[in-house]
Protein backbone atom coordinates (compact mmCIF):
# COMPACT_ATOMS: atom_id res chain seq x y z
CA UNK A 1 0.00 0.00 0.00
CA UNK A 2 1.16 3.53 -0.74
CA UNK A 3 1.07 5.94 2.20
CA UNK A 4 1.17 9.65 1.49
CA UNK A 5 2.76 11.79 4.20
CA UNK A 6 1.87 15.13 2.63
CA UNK A 7 -1.65 15.98 1.55
CA UNK A 8 -3.62 19.13 2.17
CA UNK A 9 -7.38 19.57 2.36
CA UNK A 10 -9.08 22.90 1.90
CA UNK A 11 -8.82 25.99 -0.26
CA UNK A 12 -5.87 27.96 -1.55
CA UNK A 13 -6.18 31.69 -2.01
CA UNK A 14 -4.46 31.92 -5.36
CA UNK A 15 -6.14 29.32 -7.55
CA UNK A 16 -8.99 26.85 -7.73
CA UNK A 17 -8.09 23.24 -6.97
CA UNK A 18 -9.74 20.29 -8.70
CA UNK A 19 -10.08 18.28 -5.50
CA UNK A 20 -10.34 20.64 -2.58
CA UNK A 21 -12.49 18.64 -0.20
CA UNK A 22 -11.73 15.48 1.70
CA UNK A 23 -13.98 13.23 -0.38
CA UNK A 24 -12.84 14.31 -3.83
CA UNK A 25 -9.20 14.27 -2.76
CA UNK A 26 -9.64 10.76 -1.36
CA UNK A 27 -10.99 9.60 -4.73
CA UNK A 28 -8.05 11.23 -6.56
CA UNK A 29 -5.53 9.60 -4.23
CA UNK A 30 -7.16 6.17 -4.28
CA UNK A 31 -7.31 5.97 -8.06
CA UNK A 32 -3.50 6.06 -8.22
CA UNK A 33 -3.10 3.44 -5.52
CA UNK A 34 -2.65 5.57 -2.41
CA UNK A 35 -4.27 3.73 0.46
CA UNK A 36 -3.59 6.06 3.36
CA UNK A 37 -2.73 9.75 3.70
CA UNK A 38 -1.65 12.14 6.41
CA UNK A 39 -3.67 15.30 5.84
CA UNK A 40 -3.17 18.86 7.00
CA UNK A 41 -5.42 21.85 6.61
CA UNK A 42 -4.66 23.99 3.58
CA UNK A 43 -6.80 26.80 5.00
CA UNK A 44 -4.67 26.87 8.14
CA UNK A 45 -1.57 27.96 6.22
CA UNK A 46 -2.88 31.48 5.73
CA UNK A 47 -5.46 31.82 8.50
CA UNK A 48 -4.59 34.28 11.26
CA UNK A 49 -5.44 31.51 13.66
CA UNK A 50 -4.57 28.09 12.21
CA UNK A 51 -6.71 26.38 14.85
CA UNK A 52 -9.79 27.35 12.86
CA UNK A 53 -8.42 25.46 9.86
CA UNK A 54 -7.56 22.49 12.06
CA UNK A 55 -11.10 22.32 13.39
CA UNK A 56 -12.53 22.27 9.87
CA UNK A 57 -10.07 19.57 8.85
CA UNK A 58 -10.80 17.34 11.83
CA UNK A 59 -14.53 17.56 11.09
CA UNK A 60 -14.03 16.93 7.37
CA UNK A 61 -12.13 13.69 7.88
CA UNK A 62 -14.04 12.46 10.92
CA UNK A 63 -15.79 9.74 8.92
CA UNK A 64 -12.81 9.00 6.71
CA UNK A 65 -10.35 8.05 9.40
CA UNK A 66 -9.67 4.64 7.87
CA UNK A 67 -7.97 6.61 5.09
CA UNK A 68 -6.82 9.91 6.57
CA UNK A 69 -4.64 10.54 9.59
CA UNK A 70 -4.77 14.18 10.65
CA UNK A 71 -1.84 16.57 10.91
CA UNK A 72 -2.24 19.62 13.13
CA UNK A 73 -0.99 22.98 11.90
CA UNK A 74 0.60 25.15 14.55
CA UNK A 75 1.91 28.70 14.53
CA UNK A 76 3.96 29.02 17.74
CA UNK A 77 3.53 32.78 17.78
CA UNK A 78 -0.20 32.43 18.48
CA UNK A 79 -1.36 32.73 22.07
CA UNK A 80 -2.91 29.29 22.10
CA UNK A 81 -0.28 27.07 20.50
CA UNK A 82 -0.05 24.77 23.54
CA UNK A 83 -3.80 24.25 23.42
CA UNK A 84 -3.60 23.62 19.67
CA UNK A 85 -0.95 20.97 20.24
CA UNK A 86 -3.10 19.34 22.87
CA UNK A 87 -6.12 19.40 20.55
CA UNK A 88 -4.03 17.84 17.81
CA UNK A 89 -2.88 15.05 20.08
CA UNK A 90 -6.44 14.33 21.18
CA UNK A 91 -7.51 14.26 17.52
CA UNK A 92 -4.91 11.57 16.81
CA UNK A 93 -2.49 13.66 14.78
CA UNK A 94 0.66 11.90 13.62
CA UNK A 95 2.66 15.01 12.84
CA UNK A 96 2.70 18.79 13.36
CA UNK A 97 2.79 20.96 10.25
CA UNK A 98 4.54 24.34 10.36
CA UNK A 99 4.83 27.19 7.88
CA UNK A 100 7.22 29.83 9.27
CA UNK A 101 7.75 31.45 5.88
CA UNK A 102 4.02 31.93 5.40
CA UNK A 103 3.26 33.00 8.98
CA UNK A 104 6.13 35.41 9.54
CA UNK A 105 8.08 33.67 12.27
CA UNK A 106 11.58 32.26 12.45
CA UNK A 107 12.74 28.81 13.46
CA UNK A 108 15.13 30.42 15.95
CA UNK A 109 12.48 32.52 17.74
CA UNK A 110 12.34 31.82 21.48
CA UNK A 111 8.67 30.75 21.35
CA UNK A 112 9.42 28.50 18.41
CA UNK A 113 12.16 26.77 20.38
CA UNK A 114 9.70 26.13 23.24
CA UNK A 115 7.21 24.76 20.75
CA UNK A 116 9.73 22.41 19.14
CA UNK A 117 10.83 21.16 22.54
CA UNK A 118 7.16 20.42 23.33
CA UNK A 119 6.91 18.38 20.13
CA UNK A 120 9.90 16.32 21.25
CA UNK A 121 8.27 15.87 24.64
CA UNK A 122 5.13 14.52 22.95
CA UNK A 123 7.15 12.32 20.57
CA UNK A 124 5.65 14.11 17.57
CA UNK A 125 7.64 14.81 14.40
CA UNK A 126 7.41 18.21 12.74
CA UNK A 127 6.73 18.66 9.04
CA UNK A 128 8.20 21.84 7.57
CA UNK A 129 6.95 22.77 4.11
CA UNK A 130 9.66 24.56 2.17
CA UNK A 131 7.24 26.22 -0.22
CA UNK A 132 3.58 25.80 -1.03
CA UNK A 133 3.79 26.56 -4.74
CA UNK A 134 6.34 26.25 -7.49
CA UNK A 135 8.03 29.68 -7.51
CA UNK A 136 7.85 29.83 -11.29
CA UNK A 137 4.09 30.18 -11.26
CA UNK A 138 3.11 31.86 -8.04
CA UNK A 139 0.60 34.66 -7.91
CA UNK A 140 2.46 38.01 -7.65
CA UNK A 141 1.17 38.44 -4.08
CA UNK A 142 2.28 34.95 -3.01
CA UNK A 143 5.64 35.99 -1.62
CA UNK A 144 6.72 33.85 1.33
CA UNK A 145 9.92 34.59 3.21
CA UNK A 146 13.08 33.01 1.86
CA UNK A 147 14.30 29.50 2.50
CA UNK A 148 15.58 28.99 6.06
CA UNK A 149 18.15 26.28 5.44
CA UNK A 150 20.71 27.64 7.87
CA UNK A 151 18.13 28.10 10.62
CA UNK A 152 16.79 24.61 10.07
CA UNK A 153 20.27 23.17 10.44
CA UNK A 154 20.80 25.15 13.65
CA UNK A 155 17.42 24.06 14.98
CA UNK A 156 18.10 20.38 14.43
CA UNK A 157 21.47 20.70 16.13
CA UNK A 158 19.99 22.74 19.01
CA UNK A 159 16.93 20.61 19.87
CA UNK A 160 17.95 17.06 20.74
CA UNK A 161 15.44 14.45 19.67
CA UNK A 162 13.58 16.75 17.31
CA UNK A 163 12.50 14.88 14.15
CA UNK A 164 11.84 16.97 11.06
CA UNK A 165 10.24 16.09 7.75
CA UNK A 166 11.20 18.60 5.08
CA UNK A 167 8.36 18.71 2.57
CA UNK A 168 8.15 19.91 -1.02
CA UNK A 169 11.89 20.63 -1.12
CA UNK A 170 13.74 20.67 -4.40
CA UNK A 171 16.89 18.64 -4.78
CA UNK A 172 19.33 21.46 -4.06
CA UNK A 173 17.67 22.09 -0.69
CA UNK A 174 17.55 18.42 0.19
CA UNK A 175 21.27 18.21 -0.46
CA UNK A 176 21.96 21.44 1.40
CA UNK A 177 20.27 20.27 4.59
CA UNK A 178 21.49 16.73 4.51
CA UNK A 179 25.08 17.26 3.53
CA UNK A 180 25.73 20.00 6.09
CA UNK A 181 24.49 18.03 9.10
CA UNK A 182 26.52 15.61 11.16
CA UNK A 183 25.62 11.94 10.84
CA UNK A 184 23.57 11.65 14.05
CA UNK A 185 21.59 14.77 13.27
CA UNK A 186 21.11 13.69 9.66
CA UNK A 187 19.21 10.66 10.90
CA UNK A 188 16.56 12.88 12.45
CA UNK A 189 15.62 14.46 9.13
CA UNK A 190 13.41 13.04 6.37
CA UNK A 191 12.38 14.47 3.01
CA UNK A 192 9.18 13.93 1.13
CA UNK A 193 9.38 13.17 -2.57
CA UNK A 194 6.90 15.77 -3.81
CA UNK A 195 9.37 18.24 -5.37
CA UNK A 196 12.29 16.00 -6.27
CA UNK A 197 12.51 15.39 -10.01
CA UNK A 198 12.09 11.87 -11.29
CA UNK A 199 13.33 10.33 -14.53
CA UNK A 200 14.96 10.94 -16.73
CA UNK A 201 16.95 13.53 -14.77
CA UNK A 202 16.08 11.29 -11.82
CA UNK A 203 17.24 13.37 -8.88
CA UNK A 204 15.21 11.03 -6.68
CA UNK A 205 17.35 7.98 -7.23
CA UNK A 206 20.51 10.12 -7.05
CA UNK A 207 19.39 11.48 -3.66
CA UNK A 208 18.61 7.99 -2.39
CA UNK A 209 22.15 6.92 -3.32
CA UNK A 210 23.79 9.99 -1.78
CA UNK A 211 21.70 10.41 1.36
CA UNK A 212 20.15 7.00 1.93
CA UNK A 213 16.76 5.64 0.95
CA UNK A 214 15.68 5.55 4.59
CA UNK A 215 15.46 9.35 4.56
CA UNK A 216 12.74 9.60 1.89
CA UNK A 217 8.98 9.44 2.38
CA UNK A 218 6.38 9.34 -0.32
CA UNK A 219 4.53 12.66 -0.48
CA UNK A 220 2.29 14.10 -3.17
CA UNK A 221 1.61 17.62 -1.88
CA UNK A 222 -1.92 17.13 -3.22
CA UNK A 223 -4.31 18.92 -3.53
CA UNK A 224 -1.87 21.56 -4.80
CA UNK A 225 -0.01 19.00 -6.89
CA UNK A 226 -1.26 16.03 -8.81
CA UNK A 227 -0.88 12.63 -7.14
CA UNK A 228 -0.41 10.96 -10.54
CA UNK A 229 2.99 12.59 -10.92
CA UNK A 230 4.03 11.79 -7.38
CA UNK A 231 3.35 8.08 -7.79
CA UNK A 232 4.74 7.85 -11.32
CA UNK A 233 7.99 9.50 -10.22
CA UNK A 234 8.71 6.85 -7.61
CA UNK A 235 7.57 4.00 -9.84
CA UNK A 236 9.83 5.07 -12.71
CA UNK A 237 12.87 6.12 -10.64
CA UNK A 238 15.91 3.91 -10.82
CA UNK A 239 15.18 2.14 -7.51
CA UNK A 240 14.81 -1.47 -6.51
CA UNK A 241 11.44 -2.89 -5.53
CA UNK A 242 12.57 -2.98 -1.92
CA UNK A 243 13.62 0.68 -2.03
CA UNK A 244 10.31 1.69 -3.53
CA UNK A 245 8.47 -0.17 -0.79
CA UNK A 246 10.42 1.70 1.86
CA UNK A 247 9.62 5.06 0.26
CA UNK A 248 5.99 4.21 -0.37
CA UNK A 249 5.18 3.11 3.18
CA UNK A 250 7.80 1.67 5.53
CA UNK A 251 9.78 4.83 6.15
CA UNK A 252 6.64 6.82 6.91
CA UNK A 253 5.63 4.40 9.65
CA UNK A 254 9.10 4.74 11.18
CA UNK A 255 8.68 8.47 11.72
CA UNK A 256 4.91 9.01 11.93
CA UNK A 257 4.45 6.41 14.62
CA UNK A 258 0.92 7.44 15.57
CA UNK A 259 -0.55 6.42 12.24
CA UNK A 260 -3.20 3.84 12.95
CA UNK A 261 -5.77 2.00 10.95
CA UNK A 262 -6.13 -0.57 8.19
CA UNK A 263 -2.89 -1.48 6.51
CA UNK A 264 -0.70 -0.42 9.39
Amino acid sequence: MIMDCNVLIGSWAYRRLPYGNAGSLLDALKRVGIGRAVAGSLDAVLYRNPAEGNETLFRAIERLRDFYTPAVTIDPTTFSWEQDLDTGLKAGCAVVRTYPQYQNWRLEDARACEFFAACVEENLPVLLTVEMEDPRQRHPMDRPAGWMGGELRNLIEAVPGLEVIVANARVDRVREVSLTLGEADRNRVWYDTSAIWGPHVDDLSACCREIGVSRFLFGSHAALKTPETAVTRVKLANLSGEERKRIFSENILNVMRRIEGPGT
Binding site: E133, R136, Q137, H200, A222, A223, K225, T226, E228
Partner: protein
Protein backbone atom coordinates in the same frame (compact mmCIF):
# COMPACT_ATOMS: atom_id res chain seq x y z
CA UNK B 1 2.65 4.24 -30.53
CA UNK B 2 3.81 7.08 -28.27
CA UNK B 3 5.45 10.19 -29.72
CA UNK B 4 7.45 12.56 -27.55
CA UNK B 5 7.43 15.91 -29.35
CA UNK B 6 9.77 17.63 -26.90
CA UNK B 7 13.07 15.86 -26.33
CA UNK B 8 16.53 17.20 -25.52
CA UNK B 9 20.02 15.97 -26.27
CA UNK B 10 23.37 17.42 -25.31
CA UNK B 11 26.45 17.69 -27.51
CA UNK B 12 29.91 16.94 -26.04
CA UNK B 13 30.40 20.62 -25.28
CA UNK B 14 27.60 21.65 -22.94
CA UNK B 15 26.96 23.43 -19.69
CA UNK B 16 23.93 21.40 -18.69
CA UNK B 17 23.97 19.81 -15.20
CA UNK B 18 24.14 16.09 -15.84
CA UNK B 19 25.59 16.69 -19.28
CA UNK B 20 25.78 13.97 -21.87
CA UNK B 21 24.88 11.23 -19.38
CA UNK B 22 21.33 12.52 -19.77
CA UNK B 23 21.26 11.40 -23.41
CA UNK B 24 21.42 7.70 -22.62
CA UNK B 25 19.23 8.11 -19.54
CA UNK B 26 16.60 9.73 -21.72
CA UNK B 27 16.77 7.07 -24.43
CA UNK B 28 16.61 4.25 -21.88
CA UNK B 29 13.77 5.79 -19.90
CA UNK B 30 11.86 6.51 -23.10
CA UNK B 31 12.07 2.89 -24.21
CA UNK B 32 11.05 1.68 -20.77
CA UNK B 33 7.77 3.60 -20.88
CA UNK B 34 6.99 2.70 -24.48
CA UNK B 35 7.94 5.88 -26.33
CA UNK B 36 8.25 4.88 -29.96
CA UNK B 37 9.34 8.19 -31.49
CA UNK B 38 11.29 11.11 -30.08
CA UNK B 39 11.49 14.49 -31.75
CA UNK B 40 14.41 16.20 -30.07
CA UNK B 41 16.76 19.13 -30.34
CA UNK B 42 20.19 20.20 -29.27
CA UNK B 43 20.38 23.80 -28.12
CA UNK B 44 23.89 24.64 -29.21
CA UNK B 45 26.37 24.16 -26.38
CA UNK B 46 23.77 24.85 -23.67
CA UNK B 47 25.59 27.96 -22.60
CA UNK B 48 29.10 26.56 -22.66
CA UNK B 49 30.42 28.87 -25.39
CA UNK B 50 27.49 31.12 -26.19
CA UNK B 51 24.11 31.71 -24.58
CA UNK B 52 21.70 28.75 -24.57
CA UNK B 53 18.95 30.88 -26.06
CA UNK B 54 21.11 33.13 -28.25
CA UNK B 55 23.67 30.73 -29.70
CA UNK B 56 26.38 31.87 -32.05
CA UNK B 57 26.24 30.59 -35.62
CA UNK B 58 29.06 28.18 -34.80
CA UNK B 59 27.27 26.78 -31.73
CA UNK B 60 23.93 26.54 -33.50
CA UNK B 61 25.53 24.50 -36.29
CA UNK B 62 27.52 22.46 -33.78
CA UNK B 63 24.37 21.51 -31.87
CA UNK B 64 22.40 20.69 -35.00
CA UNK B 65 25.29 18.58 -36.22
CA UNK B 66 25.15 16.56 -33.02
CA UNK B 67 21.37 16.21 -33.33
CA UNK B 68 21.87 14.67 -36.78
CA UNK B 69 24.36 12.22 -35.26
CA UNK B 70 21.82 11.13 -32.63
CA UNK B 71 19.20 10.70 -35.34
CA UNK B 72 21.52 8.58 -37.45
CA UNK B 73 22.46 6.41 -34.47
CA UNK B 74 18.76 5.84 -33.67
CA UNK B 75 16.98 5.54 -37.02
CA UNK B 76 13.21 5.37 -36.81
CA UNK B 77 13.33 6.26 -33.11
CA UNK B 78 14.92 9.69 -32.82
CA UNK B 79 13.92 12.56 -35.11
CA UNK B 80 15.14 16.12 -34.95
CA UNK B 81 14.22 19.77 -34.80
CA UNK B 82 16.66 22.26 -36.28
CA UNK B 83 17.47 24.66 -33.46
CA UNK B 84 17.51 28.10 -35.03
CA UNK B 85 18.56 31.54 -33.76
CA UNK B 86 16.41 33.97 -35.78
CA UNK B 87 18.76 36.86 -35.05
CA UNK B 88 21.20 35.29 -37.52
CA UNK B 89 18.82 36.31 -40.32
CA UNK B 90 19.61 34.74 -43.72
CA UNK B 91 22.17 32.45 -42.12
CA UNK B 92 19.39 31.11 -39.91
CA UNK B 93 17.22 30.32 -42.93
CA UNK B 94 20.15 28.61 -44.64
CA UNK B 95 20.80 26.49 -41.56
CA UNK B 96 17.12 25.51 -41.34
CA UNK B 97 17.06 24.38 -44.96
CA UNK B 98 20.32 22.48 -44.57
CA UNK B 99 19.01 20.64 -41.51
CA UNK B 100 15.71 19.70 -43.15
CA UNK B 101 17.55 18.50 -46.23
CA UNK B 102 19.49 16.17 -43.95
CA UNK B 103 16.34 14.75 -42.40
CA UNK B 104 15.15 17.04 -39.64
CA UNK B 105 11.39 17.37 -39.43
CA UNK B 106 10.71 20.58 -37.49
CA UNK B 107 12.16 23.88 -36.34
CA UNK B 108 12.84 24.77 -32.74
CA UNK B 109 12.57 28.53 -32.82
CA UNK B 110 15.13 29.89 -30.38
CA UNK B 111 14.22 32.61 -27.93
CA UNK B 112 16.90 34.87 -29.33
CA UNK B 113 14.33 37.49 -30.31
CA UNK B 114 10.67 37.71 -29.40
CA UNK B 115 8.59 35.61 -31.78
CA UNK B 116 6.65 38.64 -32.97
CA UNK B 117 9.89 40.17 -34.32
CA UNK B 118 10.11 40.69 -38.11
CA UNK B 119 13.31 38.61 -37.93
CA UNK B 120 11.18 35.52 -37.34
CA UNK B 121 8.96 35.94 -40.39
CA UNK B 122 11.31 34.55 -43.09
CA UNK B 123 11.78 31.45 -40.97
CA UNK B 124 8.05 30.86 -40.57
CA UNK B 125 7.55 31.35 -44.28
CA UNK B 126 10.26 28.76 -44.91
CA UNK B 127 8.62 26.32 -42.47
CA UNK B 128 5.37 26.72 -44.41
CA UNK B 129 7.27 26.02 -47.66
CA UNK B 130 8.91 22.96 -46.12
CA UNK B 131 5.67 21.90 -44.41
CA UNK B 132 7.28 21.46 -41.00
CA UNK B 133 6.01 22.60 -37.58
CA UNK B 134 7.56 25.20 -35.31
CA UNK B 135 8.28 24.41 -31.67
CA UNK B 136 8.72 27.55 -29.60
CA UNK B 137 9.98 27.86 -26.04
CA UNK B 138 7.73 30.25 -24.20
CA UNK B 139 7.31 31.65 -20.78
CA UNK B 140 3.57 31.26 -20.21
CA UNK B 141 3.09 34.82 -19.02
CA UNK B 142 5.89 37.31 -19.18
CA UNK B 143 6.09 39.64 -16.20
CA UNK B 144 9.52 41.08 -16.90
CA UNK B 145 12.65 40.79 -18.97
CA UNK B 146 15.57 38.40 -18.50
CA UNK B 147 19.24 38.59 -19.48
CA UNK B 148 20.51 36.80 -22.58
CA UNK B 149 17.08 35.74 -23.76
CA UNK B 150 14.08 37.41 -25.40
CA UNK B 151 11.29 35.25 -24.08
CA UNK B 152 7.97 35.21 -25.86
CA UNK B 153 4.90 34.40 -23.92
CA UNK B 154 1.82 32.54 -25.07
CA UNK B 155 0.12 35.77 -26.15
CA UNK B 156 3.08 36.54 -28.44
CA UNK B 157 2.88 33.08 -29.96
CA UNK B 158 -0.86 33.46 -30.50
CA UNK B 159 -0.15 36.70 -32.36
CA UNK B 160 2.44 34.95 -34.56
CA UNK B 161 -0.02 32.11 -35.20
CA UNK B 162 -2.67 34.64 -36.22
CA UNK B 163 -0.27 36.22 -38.73
CA UNK B 164 0.65 32.83 -40.22
CA UNK B 165 -2.49 30.69 -40.24
CA UNK B 166 -0.90 28.15 -42.59
CA UNK B 167 1.92 27.41 -40.15
CA UNK B 168 1.67 24.84 -37.35
CA UNK B 169 3.04 25.84 -33.96
CA UNK B 170 3.83 23.77 -30.90
CA UNK B 171 3.66 25.83 -27.72
CA UNK B 172 6.32 24.28 -25.56
CA UNK B 173 5.83 22.72 -22.15
CA UNK B 174 2.58 23.79 -20.51
CA UNK B 175 4.26 22.70 -17.27
CA UNK B 176 7.56 24.40 -17.92
CA UNK B 177 6.95 27.05 -15.35
CA UNK B 178 4.88 30.19 -15.29
CA UNK B 179 1.20 30.95 -15.27
CA UNK B 180 -0.02 27.94 -17.21
CA UNK B 181 -3.65 29.06 -17.12
CA UNK B 182 -2.62 32.24 -18.95
CA UNK B 183 -0.66 30.20 -21.49
CA UNK B 184 -3.49 27.79 -22.12
CA UNK B 185 -6.09 30.56 -22.44
CA UNK B 186 -3.87 32.44 -24.88
CA UNK B 187 -3.59 29.36 -27.11
CA UNK B 188 -7.25 28.40 -26.91
CA UNK B 189 -8.38 30.60 -29.79
CA UNK B 190 -5.56 29.62 -32.18
CA UNK B 191 -6.44 26.49 -34.13
CA UNK B 192 -2.87 26.20 -35.44
CA UNK B 193 -1.26 26.18 -31.97
CA UNK B 194 -0.77 22.80 -30.30
CA UNK B 195 0.20 22.43 -26.65
CA UNK B 196 2.91 20.06 -25.62
CA UNK B 197 2.35 18.47 -22.24
CA UNK B 198 5.96 18.46 -21.13
CA UNK B 199 7.57 20.26 -18.20
CA UNK B 200 8.52 19.58 -14.62
CA UNK B 201 5.59 21.41 -13.01
CA UNK B 202 2.86 19.24 -11.54
CA UNK B 203 0.13 21.59 -10.38
CA UNK B 204 -3.18 19.87 -9.87
CA UNK B 205 -5.77 21.23 -12.26
CA UNK B 206 -3.43 22.08 -15.14
CA UNK B 207 -4.26 19.10 -17.33
CA UNK B 208 -7.97 19.43 -16.65
CA UNK B 209 -7.77 23.09 -17.65
CA UNK B 210 -5.84 22.34 -20.84
CA UNK B 211 -8.27 19.67 -21.93
CA UNK B 212 -11.26 21.89 -21.32
CA UNK B 213 -9.79 24.99 -22.96
CA UNK B 214 -8.02 23.51 -25.98
CA UNK B 215 -9.54 20.07 -26.43
CA UNK B 216 -7.96 16.69 -27.07
CA UNK B 217 -7.22 17.46 -30.72
CA UNK B 218 -4.48 19.97 -29.88
CA UNK B 219 -2.63 18.27 -27.04
CA UNK B 220 0.68 16.51 -27.71
CA UNK B 221 2.62 14.18 -25.43
CA UNK B 222 6.03 15.55 -24.48
CA UNK B 223 8.67 15.20 -21.78
CA UNK B 224 11.39 17.91 -21.94
CA UNK B 225 13.57 17.19 -18.85
CA UNK B 226 11.17 15.08 -16.81
CA UNK B 227 9.71 12.06 -18.48
CA UNK B 228 7.76 11.07 -15.38
CA UNK B 229 5.56 14.16 -15.46
CA UNK B 230 4.63 13.58 -19.11
CA UNK B 231 3.68 9.97 -18.43
CA UNK B 232 1.65 11.02 -15.39
CA UNK B 233 -0.24 13.60 -17.42
CA UNK B 234 -1.35 10.86 -19.81
CA UNK B 235 -2.71 8.98 -16.81
CA UNK B 236 -4.64 12.07 -15.71
CA UNK B 237 -6.04 12.51 -19.22
CA UNK B 238 -7.13 8.88 -19.14
CA UNK B 239 -9.01 9.50 -15.90
CA UNK B 240 -10.67 12.47 -17.58
CA UNK B 241 -11.86 10.31 -20.44
CA UNK B 242 -9.77 11.97 -23.15
CA UNK B 243 -9.01 10.12 -26.39
CA UNK B 244 -5.49 9.02 -25.48
CA UNK B 245 -4.64 7.80 -28.97
CA UNK B 246 -4.90 11.36 -30.20
CA UNK B 247 -2.65 12.68 -27.48
CA UNK B 248 -0.17 9.82 -27.60
CA UNK B 249 0.38 9.94 -31.36
CA UNK B 250 -2.46 10.84 -33.72
CA UNK B 251 -2.19 14.59 -33.19
CA UNK B 252 1.59 14.44 -33.58
CA UNK B 253 1.32 12.49 -36.82
CA UNK B 254 -0.93 15.27 -38.09
CA UNK B 255 1.43 18.03 -36.92
CA UNK B 256 4.47 16.40 -38.55
CA UNK B 257 2.49 15.52 -41.71
CA UNK B 258 3.67 11.99 -42.29
CA UNK B 259 7.33 12.49 -41.48
CA UNK B 260 7.11 10.28 -38.41
CA UNK B 261 7.00 6.65 -39.44
Amino acid sequence: MLIDVHGNFYAPRNNMPGGQALNQAYLDASRSVGITHIVGKVMGTWGDRSSTYVPSLEDMQYGNGFMLEVMHRNPGFVFGYAFINPALEHLAVEELVACVNQGMIGMKLGASVRCTSPLVEPLIEKCIDLSIPVLHHILQRRRGEYENVALSDAADLAELARRFPEARFIQAHIAGGGDWAFGIRAAAGSANVFLDLSGSGCDAGMVEYALEAVGEDRLLFGTDLTLDTGVARLETLGFLGADLEKIRFRNALRVFEGRLK
